[in-house]
Amino acid sequence: MPSHFQGNHCRNSMATEEKEGAAAESIIAETQKKITDAFEVFDHECNKTVDVREIGTIIRSLGCCPSEGDLHDMLAEVEEEEPTGFIRLEKFLPMMTRVLLERRYRPIPEDILLRAFEVLDQNKCGHLTKEELVKYMTEEGEPFTQEEMEEMLSAAVDPETNTVRYKDYITMMVVDES
């Protein structure tokens, strides 16, 4: 059981403690079910393993927003001593349960995302050109593959002006998902 659940709660009585304990148990159980469900979607062989290349999708689909670097660290933790190209649920489940319960790699709020775009928009004109976006996304940070870039552009770029009105873009993406 993750340590913070045994932390110093204010305890009124044995009853509430038990209640809290039960609630914590059920949160853990729910979380683990969620992780297992997501894992099984990619478990094509139905043998509680998934291809290591799909781990990123599983982790991110569970509402985490790790960077590629973070992902790499998480992978290192669950990979076999001799990497087989597959990750076992047995190893993945405890790690992922901990990440979710500790609320690590939280989703990026809309305003922070907006600020990031503003940093890239050096002329402060409210938009990026298609070329600027491509340049940043494929040359800086953890570069996009060509496929990822094309995918992003297909929704982000206004085909008439060839620019990205990032504020509208963010709003659209957030609405899309809800």
Binding site: K33, K34, I58, E68, V119, L120, G141, E142
Partner: protein, 714 residues
């Protein structure tokens, strides 16, 4: 590339800040894409679960056909009358063994008797066919023209002649050609076939093809696909090969749309075409072997698959796999005679047993409950299993049936059970990852074969690999059993636009398969990932809601068990297990929950809301709700039974036939709908009171629709 030394980079001051911003955007975007990808996968699993559940139902229905057909064909049938004649005809049209004359006179006959009017603007064929004809056909179909019925009949006739010359298992060699192309299921998707030819070149002596079954059904252009494939077969009989699939079966076609397509496109000659086609199907080869090393067949194998046997039996005896228990002594007395219906049709358990070694789920209480449901659900089907077991057979007694069964046995030159089973296995089976061979309960026919079964068969016949089709794969192909089994599937967007890619295999003399993937794209502008996923997802959820509605009363009962105080709320996990216990679709209900029901503030599920938002597009109002639910649930089964009774496939049914069918149907499923409701339903459907029901439209009206589309998406 890289290092940031390009010319433009000097203009941008590379601040730490910009890099951080870029990383943040990349992080955010990748998560966004991953969440969509997950939603897409869920949607696909909904489609697949529902598809297989339906196939299972279809196989189960086959025993009912046997029951029904046997029942109506007896000359000394005690009860007689109009209905009997009709159904007898229906039987004949379904099982004609070979009523089509088999000589070249037929070609001239078609020419004499079927006139092509001057107004016909479609392509003209000139027999014997040449490349000019195949080109003309391809051109015409690109422009959505139709081939005249006379040419279709002539082509089918020629096709059969060619097929009759072929062995059950065709042997090919790569030594004279560079590569052989192998394609999987097409399912009436003409654009995929045209795209394959465009990318890979037209068939010719230098460019041989193998099409591995399931040319028809589901898609809108099965007719055109068959015509193109058969025309190439006739032109290049040595370089163009077709294997039979499980959909090259006229009873499958009744349910999955091809019969309807033919009747719509060829009103007056449709029946003739269908009848001839039954025979053509039966002559399709069953498998192909390349260089004595690569076995290609539609479904798979079982632990009893015997290629030598399959190569020798008279394959055209087998018109349909869906009428297995033809009345003969052998099937009656053979102890291990095949039974398509397994006692329990619990998809989830089957799937779990097959694939997951450790079943940690389900406490004892919930599993016993599940069994309870399972029994209830399967109870009706068990009755179908043995016609004699149905308690109140209105059409004859059990004794009668049995005596009939034995008398017909001597006279019919029937297929043996072994022949039937051998073919069933190769056309219906799927690979599984665990060793062993188990009945394919999931589909209801064929089996699941493990890597050990594959290894043994390959060794026995000194083969290198098995190429099969039969299952939709997201990437168009999949490799399993340590690289020994390849699945190839060539219908892209099979479930819905964007659901999957199609692929074909290029096999060179080294027998190393090379995969080519593609996806037919209809729109001009590329859709965004969100649009693509949404399309697939909405359509999947729609099918799922239809399922939910169709099982409304069972579901409500299951929910209420968790809600003794009638609060209308249960916990999410109770909801998930209740739904699974009724539908057995093995879906991630916990995740789908928010899209199917309303959640209360405290996180519990307001379970009745799964139905609130749904409504059936119903032509009539006064029918009782339970009947509507039943109709919705058995739409496909009913449709197929009606199609059999509606022998001219006109889509019109008399009120009397409607009533008769319902009664049969009730008997078959052991459901209880009283006569009065049926009569009132029949009366109310017949709006214009002309005594006929337009059944196609009637059934199509029974789609579940979403009443508050917006409210749910909030």
């Amino acid at each position: 590339m890289g290092c940031g030394t390009s010319v433009t980079s000097s203009q941008v001051k590379k601040s730490e800040k910009a890099i951080k911003a870029a990383i943040l955007i990349q992080r955010w975007y990748r998560s966004y894409v991953a969440r969509l990808e997950m939603r897409r996968r869920y949607a696909l699993s909904i489609f697949q679960s529902i598809e297989y559940a339906e196939e299972q139902a279809q196989m189960q229905l086959s025993n009912f056909f046997t029951f029904m057909l046997d029942h109506f064909t007896q000359p000394n049938e005690p009860d007689s009358g109009k209905k009997k004649c009709k159904t007898k005809d229906a039987h004949n049209s379904l099982t004609t063994d070979n009523s089509v004359p088999d000589s070249d006179e037929m070609m001239g006959e078609y020419e004499r008797t079927i006139e092509i009017p001057d107004s016909y603007y479609g392509p003209h064929l000139c027999f014997p066919l040449t490349v000019a004809d195949t080109n003309a056909l391809l051109q015409a179909f690109k422009y959505r023209q139709q081939l005249h019925a006379r040419y279709v009949l002539q082509l089918l006739h020629e096709t059969r002649k060619v097929l009759q010359q072929m062995p059950n298992i065709t042997h090919l060699s790569t030594s004279y050609v560079k590569e052989i192309t192998i394609c999987g299921d097409l399912h009436g998707k003409l654009d995929d076939l045209l795209l394959i030819f465009y990318k890979n070149g037209l068939p010719s002596e230098e460019n041989p093809y193998i099409f591995n079954g399931d040319f028809v059904d589901r898609g809108k252009n099965s007719v055109e696909i068959l015509i193109i494939l058969f025309a190439f077969l006739v032109v290049y009989p040595n370089h163009f090969h077709l294997n039979r699939g499980n959909h090259e079966d006229h009873i499958m076609n009744l349910r999955y749309g091809f019969t309807k397509e033919v009747m719509k496109k060829y009103r007056s000659y449709g029946k003739k075409i269908l009848r001839l086609l039954q025979d053509v199907y039966s002559w399709l080869p069953l498998a192909t072997i390349v260089d004595n090393k690569v076995l290609i067949l539609h479904g798979g194998i079982s632990d009893t698959t015997d290629l030598n046997f399959l190569n020798l039996f008279q394959r055209n005896k087998l018109k349909t796999l869906l009428r297995p228990l033809k009345s003969n002594t052998e099937t009656n007395h053979e102890p291990q005679g095949p039974s398509l219906i397994e006692e329990c049709s619990n998809l989830r358990e089957v799937k779990k047993c097959l694939s997951r070694q450790d079943i940690t789920k389900s406490s004892s209480s919930s599993s016993s409950e599940r069994k309870q449901y399972c029994r209830d659900g399967a109870g009706a089907k068990e009755h179908v299993n043995l016609p004699g077991r149905t308690h109140s057979s209105p059409l004859g007694e059990q004794q009668d049936l049995e005596s009939r069964v034995t008398t017909t046995a001597c006279t019919s030159p029937d297929l043996t059970t072994k022949e039937w089973k051998q073919v069933l296995d190769i056309l219906w089976s799927d690979p599984k990852h665990q060793n062993g061979c188990a009945p394919n309960k999931y589909r209801g026919g064929g089996c699941y074969f493990g890597p050990d079964v594959t290894a043994r068969l390959l060794k026995r016949y000194n083969l290198k690999m098995l190429i099969r089709s039969h299952e939709c794969k997201q990437e168009g192909y999949e490799i399993c059993h340590n690289g020994k089994v390849i699945t190839i599937f060539s219908a892209s967007n099979y479930y819905e636009e964007g659901s999957n890619r199609g692929a074909y295999i290029k096999l060179n003399p080294d027998l190393i398969p090379r995969f080519v993937q593609y996806q037919v794209n209809k729109g001009t502008r590329k859709k965004t990932i969100h649009q693509r996923v949404s399309t697939v997802e909405l359509s999947a959820l729609k099918s799922l809601r239809e399922k939910i509605y169709a099982h409304k009363s069972e579901l409500v009962a299951a929910f209420r068990k968790y809600d003794p105080n009638d609060t209308g709320k249960i916990s999410p996990s109770q909801w998930a297990s209740a739904v699974e216990s009724v539908l057995h679709l093995d879906l991630p209900w916990r995740t789908l929950r928010s899209r199917l029901v309303h959640l209360a503030q405290d996180g519990s599920v307001e379970y009745l809301s799964s139905f609130d938002a749904l409504e059936i597009e119903l032509p009539i109002k006064e029918v009782q709700p339970s009947l509507v639910e039943t109709l919705c649930r058995y739409k496909a089964d009913l449709e197929i039974i009606f199609n059999m009774i509606d022998k001219d496939h006109s889509g019109l049914i008399s009120i009397d036939e409607f009533r008769q069918t319902w009664k049969l149907f009730n008997l078959h499923l052991n459901i209880d709908v009283d006569d009065e409701s049926i009569d009132s339903l029949a009366r109310s459907i017949d709006f214009n009171k002309d005594g006929n029901i337009d059944f196609n439209e009637f059934l199509e009206a029974f789609h579940v629709v979403h009443k508050f589309e917006n409210k749910i998406s909030e």
